[in-house]
């Protein structure tokens, strides 16, 4: 049985301090401060253009901040460059809406890309990976319920399966923190549920911190321990799912009293596919 030392990634501390990002005169993220004291599953919600993706991209250092700072476990993430930055990125996995797998390569090879940071270019060129890495990759696929597709090309899988392969690639990095930018936005409700439950499991079983940008309120309520609402680059809500009332949602989405939750709902009720 695959046993992940639980809580191995415990005791983290992500501190985001007055983080600001400007694109020209457009302020995408405006002086955002967030503290995360222990591994949690954090949801970020907000209307399109609120700055959610930009915030995640800055945490991963795909994007540099205009001002402010990010630190993780005492490491000043926002100041990293070169090799130190690449190392941070390998500790901070990213999952995308469009999965971003290499479509023509087999599933296991895609998962093994999670180890590229440690591989030489020559080994990469000849597609040579240690047996033990291949073993780990398939074990992770098994854990996420997609091992039977191991030898198929990534493009032959359904969206939900591809997203789980993308999560497996992220896990292959053995990251302390997983950033997911709208991981379920291109999935049907059933696959969306499987993917969200997978992310939740990764948090519960491994104690990794998961930060997910989400488009729907009920998903955030259902899977997250804490929810942050953004509007026009500002954090306008930071609280527990139960504090996320329709009133608060109106504020986040800037909607009028005609705002209905159903508008953002994708939940499948009475449905429980993946046991946790």
């Amino acid at each position: 049985m695959l046993r992940y030392p639980s809580g191995k990634y415990g005791g983290i501390m992500l501190k985001i301090n007055n983080l600001t990002k400007k694109f020209g005169s457009n302020i995408a993220v405006n002086s955002v401060s967030i503290d995360i004291e222990k591994p949690i599953m954090l949801g970020i919600i907000g209307a399109s253009g609120a700055g959610k993706s930009t915030l995640l991209r800055m945490i991963n250092r795909l994007e540099s901040q205009t001002s402010g700072s990010i630190s993780f476990d005492g490491l000043s993430v926002s100041d990293l460059n070169g090799a130190a930055k690449a190392k941070w990125q390998s500790n901070c996995a990213m999952i995308f809406q469009q999965f971003n797998l290499v479509p023509r390569m087999d599933v296991v090879s895609n998962v093994l890309h999670g180890t590229l940071n440690k591989r030489s270019t020559v080994a990469t060129f000849f597609n040579l990976y240690p047996r033990s890495d291949i073993h780990t990759a398939i074990e992770i696929l098994g854990r996420l319920g997609v091992a039977e597709h191991a030898a198929k090309r990534a493009e032959a899988l359904s969206g939900g399966q591809q997203q789980r392969v993308a999560i497996a690639r992220a896990l292959m990095q053995d990251p302390k923190i997983i950033l997911a930018d709208e991981p379920i936005a291109s999935l049907d409700p059933m696959n969306a549920q499987i993917v969200m439950e997978t992310l939740r499991r990764i948090h519960d079983e491994d104690g990794r911190t998961v930060i997910a940008n989400l488009h729907t309120l009920d998903t955030a309520r259902r899977y997250c321990d804490r929810v942050i609402g953004m509007r026009n680059g500002n954090v306008v809500f930071d609280g527990t799912p139960s504090e996320l009332t329709t009133e608060v949602a109106r504020k986040i989405y800037g909607a009028g009293s005609d705002f209905s939750e159903a508008a953002t709902s994708t939940e499948i009720r009475e449905f429980n596919l993946v046991s946790v």
Partner: protein, 586 residues
């Protein structure tokens, strides 16, 4: 997991003889999981041993290995015939060998359920009442193979504390006491500040619940539950099954199942000892009940082994193909080289020794007249510009033709889809005729000069770029075209607005590459009368010694030009293909 075992034994000559076909057994061995000291475990199960011996008619033995793994290995190795396992112990046995044992019965709690809990507890007088108070204190697990004494708390406690179970992280120290009874004693003595063990969660705390390790310890007089407080409780854990070796004769299995099932009504006191406390009884249970609970763990392990084997098979096949391909390639190379060498009139190997003579003479002469070089550079610079001009004009003209032709030759973009094959053939033909051949013919017809060179280069480059561009086009998304069509855009508009923005960086990058190539070709064409620096070079070389300084100067000029253009276009192409992404258009 926890608890004791229940089990029974044996078989006998009697049963063998009595029942058809089956093999006989000469003794029956019951395994008892760790938790209490071995003597107590033997005592609690002695009544079962006697009943088994009576029933089966063969000598029956109790085994109480020091740890859980001892029982698991005994079952797997055939030295233990029956035991009461915990859910995780059963899972482990099953995963190691699915054919070793089968679950037959499970003890039922007083509430009718068959779940139990991992319970965290501490001494009342320590002042500890919750996990929060345990921070920095000494924490005790039981046996590392125990579900309630290790597995479940090792998963659920970190979720509650948000920290790892490593010593010094949340707890000051984390120890393994070795078993449930040891944990209880250790907490009671103050050796550890808090620990985990199992209980059914029913009945009174003061009694140590209705069943479980605490109840046993109370009965044994080891602890007074009034000295203890509960500090934590897990989610419900399914009680483990009583399992029996699959290889036993059928009749033995039936008898032992019957004996165990009726133990509670036959001899409640015996059942109390065997099942670790007050129970409603036992009920039949099969693999499915645990398969459900351990579905993830088991299906992962079992199925990934198969998929892993399949995948390695695939890799092996792929490597074999690659090796064959490489082998064929190497053979072709060697064979090809051999043929060329044998046909080479003068003998390649003879000529190769002189290969450095000519450059040697050029370099020698050029360096002797080094002070004249700057003047020569200036003298030949106009010719160089002419050569570059020919290349630039030809590349530009060819690019425009190529864009149009490539679009006309691409599925989904073509204005006249039926003519796609025609345009493709045109591109093929233009690409197939070497620029050198076209130039020779044109010079023959039109006479020397830059114009024939330009036409020749344009012709071939249109073919070459057209092919490359149409490949770029094939990778472009056609969705914007549908969008533009839906608003009534013309073909030209759709190409300009829907295709060109997507493909222009790639177009440009290919055109630059072609420009570099065309500079070289334009210089070479000078040799056959197309003018430019190639013509000067030809004159200098055919003059022979005495004008080698000029040849040297031209070589240097050409070399520098090509290096510079190559570098510039490299930088530009990088910008075009990667620069955009790092600006974050995502």
């Amino acid at each position: 997991m926890k608890k004791l075992l229940s089990a029974i034994v044996a078989s006998t000559a009697l049963s063998t003889a009595a029942f058809a076909g089956g093999h006989s057994i000469s003794e029956f061995r019951i395994g008892i999981l760790g938790g209490e000291n071995a003597q107590d475990r033997m005592t609690s199960n002695e009544c079962l041993r006697e009943k088994t011996e009576d029933l089966l008619g063969v000598p029956t033995k109790l085994f109480a290995p020091a740890d859980y793994d001892g029982v698991i290995q005994g079952l797997l190795g055939g030295t233990i015939d029956m035991a009461w396992l915990g859910a995780s112990g059963y899972a482990k046995t099953f995963i190691s060998n699915p054919d070793a044992v089968e679950p037959i019965l499970v003890p039922v709690n007083m509430d009718g359920g068959y779940g139990y809990y991992s319970i965290g507890f501490a001494r009342k007088d320590s002042g500890i009442t919750s996990l929060d108070d345990m921070k920095g204190k000494v924490f005790g697990f039981g046996d590392p193979n125990s579900t309630s004494g290790y597995l479940i708390p090792s998963i659920e406690i970190p979720q509650a504390t948000g920290a790892t179970m490593d010593s010094g992280d949340y707890f000051g120290e984390v120890k393994f006491t070795g078993g449930h009874e040891q944990t209880i004693v250790a907490v009671n003595n103050g050796d550890v500040d808090g620990g985990v063990t199992w209980a059914d969660g029913l009945g009174e705390w003061e009694d140590g619940f209705n069943a479980g390790a605490l109840r046993k310890a109370v009965d044994a007089g080891l602890v007074d539950m009034n000295d203890m407080v509960q500090i934590w409780q897990s989610k419900q854990i399914p009680e483990g099954p009583i399992v029996i070796s699959k290889s036993l004769p059928e009749d033995v299995k039936v008898k032992m199942t019957g004996l165990t099932a009726s133990l509670h009504s036959m001899d409640p006191e015996c059942a109390y000892g065997v099942f670790s406390g007050e129970r409603l009884g036992v009920m039949p249970i099969g693999h499915e009940a645990y398969y459900q609970y351990f579905r993830n763990a088991m299906s992962e392990t079992i199925s990934t082994q198969k998929y892993e084997a399949d995948y390695f098979e695939l890799i092996k096949k792929r490597r074999t193909y690659s090796a064959i391909l490489l082998g064929v390639f190497v053979i072709l190379m060697i064979a090809g080289f051999d043929i060329v060498d044998s046909r080479n009139a003068g003998g390649f190997w003879a000529g190769i020794t002189n290969i450095f003579d000519f450059p040697g003479e050029v370099i020698l002469e050029a360096s002797e007249k080094a002070e004249k070089l700057p003047g020569l550079f200036i003298k030949f610079f106009p010719s160089l510009i002419e050569t570059i001009n020919i290349a630039a004009a030809a590349t530009l003209t060819a690019s425009i033709f190529a864009v149009l032709l490539s679009m006309l030759a691409t599925q989904g973009m073509a204005k006249w889809p039926r003519l796609i094959p025609v345009f493709r053939r045109i591109l093929d033909i233009m690409r197939a005729i070497p620029d050198f051949v076209i130039a020779l013919i044109l010079i023959f017809i039109l006479g020397g000069g830059p114009v024939p060179a330009m036409i020749a280069i344009t012709f071939h480059t249109t073919g070459a770029l057209g092919k490359l561009f149409s490949e770029v086009n094939e990778n472009a998304s056609l969705q914007p075209l549908d969008g533009l069509s839906s608003v009534g855009a013309s073909w030209m508009q759709k190409m300009l607005l829907g295709v060109v923005p997507q493909v222009s960086p790639n177009y440009f990058s290919y055109a630059l590459l072609r420009f570099e190539i065309n500079i070289r070709i334009s210089a070479i064409l000078g040799f056959v009368g197309a003018g430019g620096i190639g013509y000067d070079l030809k004159n200098a070389i055919s003059w022979g010694k005495g004008r080698y300084d000029e040849a040297g100067a031209i070589f240097i000029l050409l070399f520098l030009t090509i290096v510079i253009v190559d570098q510039l276009s490299g930088i530009l192409r990088d910008r075009l293909t990667y620069g955009r992404k790092s600006e974050g258009l995502l």
